[in-house]
Symmetry: C2
Subunit: 125 residues, 2 copies
């Protein structure tokens, strides 16, 4: 299970950086929930989750998993990653900590992301 | 609130490394829950939480917050830290990701820790 969860985390971060959205959504169980950032309204089910990732998919972006931060305990995982987006002549780097729970088939059932605007780094591209 | 939560996170990690247990327990709301590691039975209330930290208090230990990992969103926080314990001629280094929720007074209401035995590093002291 640990190996399977690690694989899904790696796929997730890679797909958030390159898509397609459908492949991200397929990592989630049908009745999964996404709360990103934590404290904002929960998206419940594949369609609201697809809408969320479609917003990201429209951006010029890349992602990097901080591999040394991946923590897996039973059917739970926590990890940190960078998502870098380019808008005009600026790059925006956000480095959230995401936590996930998984079902027995290795599908994500809950995702909650810890970050705020304070964690956004803005630089010339 | 963000500043207050960051202060509590810093105090928490410092106190886990040096105690006293009472001071750690005082960071928690009376009906708080601790799940460490996530997936194990939840400790609910000050007395079960005190018992948990008393086990750590008996060890020769130190802690270091990874300050660049602290993420705060609303009344939630996530962060990574090292806890190093010395037993005989060996040191055990564990580096969990903890997530916490806080009440309006800045007291911890839930703590869940992400780590497994795989994340334990053992070295000569």
């Amino acid at each position: 299970m640990t190996r399977q969860i690690r694989d899904v985390v790696e796929q997730y971060v890679k797909l958030v950086g390159s898509g397609p959205t459908d492949a991200i959504v397929e990592l989630y169980a049908p009745d999964a929930t996404v709360e990103d950032p934590i404290g904002t309204p929960v998206r419940h089910g594949h369609e609201p989750i697809r809408e969320f990732y479609d917003v990201i998919a429209a951006l010029d972006r890349s992602t990097t998993l901080h591999a040394d931060t991946v923590r897996i305990a039973g059917n739970h995982a926590a990890f940190m990653f960078d998502i870098v987006t380019k808008v005009g002549d600026q790059t925006f780097t956000l480095t959230p900590i995401d936590v996930m729970e998984f079902d027995d088939e290795g599908r994500i059932t809950t995702m909650r992301a810890y970050w705020s605007q304070d964690d956004m780094r803005i630089e010339p591209a």
